[in-house]
Amino acid sequence: MNWGSAGEFFAMGGYAFYVWGSFGVTALFLLVEVVMVVHRKRTIVQRLGRRMRMQAEVKQ
């Protein structure tokens, strides 16, 4: 175990800004990418579904 306390852990031996800036931004961007892909899939399914129903109405 490297850390005596939680405070020591978050201080990262004085490198807190650099270490947490690296891990934080990485975590944030990866999460944002996941959300964007999930959202894109939902939008496409909705849009194509609407398009399909419209085409079906035109045929009628």
């Binding site: 175990m1 490297n2 850390w3 852990f9 990262m12 031996g13 004085g14 490198y15 800004f17 650099y18 270490v19 800036g21 690296s22 891990f23 931004v25 990485t26 961007f29 990866l30 990418e33 996941v34 892909v37 999930v38 894109r40 899939k41 496409i44 399914v45 194509l48 579904g49 398009r51 399909m52």
Partner: protein
């Protein structure tokens, strides 16, 4: 003669690949989460403090895996683009398209974490060093690939032009990899060489776990994105209509 026939092209059909990819995503996503937890635990609680760089070195646990991913993804992307050009298979070009944003993201993260590591250790966020510059060129190659693909309306021509760019750009990957040997750079040399490593075992294990986690993450996200690409490319087909009627 009982030779087993495997139809390798079966899964290169978007209609077959779409549901297969959908089934695989949860497995890779779970693996990515589990490996990340293991990797972060090893990286922060097991790997010891570095005698030279103190706790600041812990950036390595995302910097190196992100940099590896940025190069691997490019090679895989170019391979798919090349397959698309040679065999004219639809799925290959879609895979290349789906890989590019994640590759660009990892390239950005390698540069970002590198800057945050460079500042306390070298005293500079950025230097025009061979390793850093070639990695920046990689980011521009990804952006160029995506912009070119988006700029051309006809999907076949778009795939051909961007595929060609991807293949030509591959030359940059060995340049990034070898830059620390070929040029006298500020960036440190390779930690892991064919002759072994200079790294402590727990540090190395943590780094490899984080790399595996990023691999699994990439596979999950790229499979999800290629499903979007497939739906858009095949929107006028019968199977997409059936697929859409399943999920309202």
């Amino acid at each position: 003669m009982a030779v087993r026939q495997i139809n390798w092209f079966k899964f290169s059909s978007p209609a077959t690949f779409y549901p297969l990819a959908g089934k695989l995503i949860p497995y890779f996503a779970v693996l990515a989460v589990v490996l990340t937890v293991i990797g972060l635990y090893l990286g922060f609680f097991v790997a010891p403090t570095d005698y030279k760089q103190g706790e600041g070195y812990r950036i390595i646990f995302i910097h190196v895996p992100a940099a590896w991913m940025s190069m691997f993804i490019y090679v895989v992307m170019a391979a798919y683009a090349g397959m698309g050009l040679v065999f004219n298979t639809r799925l290959s070009s879609l895979m290349a398209t789906a890989l590019a944003p994640t590759g660009a993201l990892f390239t950005f993260l390698a540069l970002w974490t590198g800057a945050l590591w460079g500042k306390p250790m070298w005293g500079a966020w950025w230097v025009w060093d061979a390793r850093l510059t070639s990695e920046l060129i990689l980011l521009f190659l990804y952006i160029g690939f995506m912009s070119l693909k988006a700029a051309i309306d006809d999907p076949r021509r778009a795939a051909r032009a961007s595929g060609l760019l991807a293949i030509i750009g591959v030359i940059n990957v060995p340049i990034i990899y070898k830059s620390v040997e070929w040029w006298n750079t500020l960036h440190q040399g390779a930690t892991i060489k064919s002759s072994g490593t200079s790294m402590e075992t727990t540090m190395l294990t943590a780094m490899l776990m984080m790399s595996l986690a990023m691999w699994m993450y990439t596979i999950a996200v790229v499979l999800a994105r290629v499903r979007c690409e497939i739906l858009e490319a095949e929107r006028d087909t019968e199977w997409v209509a059936t697929e859409l009627s399943k999920s309202p």
